[in-house]
Symmetry: C2
């Protein structure tokens, strides 16, 4: 089974962000195949007038998305909504041809929160992403297990993350056979 290239994207710029730590921990567990994206924090605010000649940071973000086999989005929920940082990054992809049919998995590290998670699903469906159901997981990381080091050290969290990487490979490979029917 081919190991797929994963771009792991956190929706928070907080230094101690659990979602960002999750993305970095995944890089440790999938060396060479998972990249923790720093792009959302470098993007300008979305302006449709700049689409024709997008700023360099937008070009970098789109190139990284295009190069990845799958995007893994880990967004916090702010006031029952998608974080502005994550939505802004997605807004820059709405008219980007390279995003159409892009496989996307969602990770919810705060399972008590569901509004942002559901809004993200609606937005991604509208953007014609290919939502990966089996690879979209809730993983309660609140409490002690909030740093990259703690996540990798915790046997059950590490097992869940390794399982996620296997499921991603399986779902993506399976998808090649069954086509769009695995879309949500």
């Amino acid at each position: 089974m081919k190991a797929m290239k994963v771009l792991a994207v956190a929706g928070s710029l907080r230094r101690a962000s659990i979602n960002a730590a999750f993305c970095r921990a995944l890089v440790q567990l999938g060396p060479g195949r998972v990249i923790a994206s720093e792009h959302p924090g470098r993007l300008p605010l979305f302006n449709p007038d700049l689409e024709a000649e997008p700023p360099a940071a937008v070009g970098d973000w789109r190139a990284a998305v295009q190069a990845a086999d799958v995007l893994l989005l880990a967004s916090p929920e702010y006031a029952h909504g998608i974080s502005g940082v994550m939505k802004n990054a997605l807004d820059w992809l709405v008219s980007f041809e390279g995003f159409v049919d892009k496989p996307v998995a969602l990770v919810n590290t705060s399972p008590r929160a569901h509004h942002a998670y559901e809004s993200l699903q609606e937005v991604l469906r509208t953007m014609n992403a290919r939502l990966l159901r089996q690879s979209s997981i809730s993983l309660p990381l609140l409490g002690g297990c909030v740093t990259e080091t703690a996540m990798v050290a915790d046997a059950s969290v590490r097992a869940a993350m390794q399982g996620l990487l296997r499921t991603l490979d399986a779902e993506l490979t399976g998808m090649a056979d069954v086509g769009p029917s695995v879309q949500w």
Copy 2:
């Protein structure tokens, strides 16, 4: 009846944005009492680590919000979601004491779109804003009437906007009597 100070906030940075044109047209119809906010486009991406000593643009945005009697939000819908620009501006207000109980009206200039409008309601309720039901309107402006000049020149649109300003005054004044029961 006291005329209230309105801060009209568009959620798009597009130069030809209908929502921004709506806000500027409202300034023409309510001279001295309506301000079209330029703040969302000047804000950095939200970062909770900067809350303690927020950048100047954030301080300006919060001061403008605090000084207004009411916020009028006109956001486009991008991919069935709130624009990242608008959500980012709101994210900077989540922990801002001056936003609690702030009266907010929503204007939907694309009535066929409803996802972003509903998401905005959920977010604002969660932020303890005071949503103004009567002053939240749908105003179909697609078609010919997409510039500030055209909106002010069009008798029915002008009447709708003048009616909105009257309703805002009435709802805000009434609110002082009836208290939180007019919240959504």
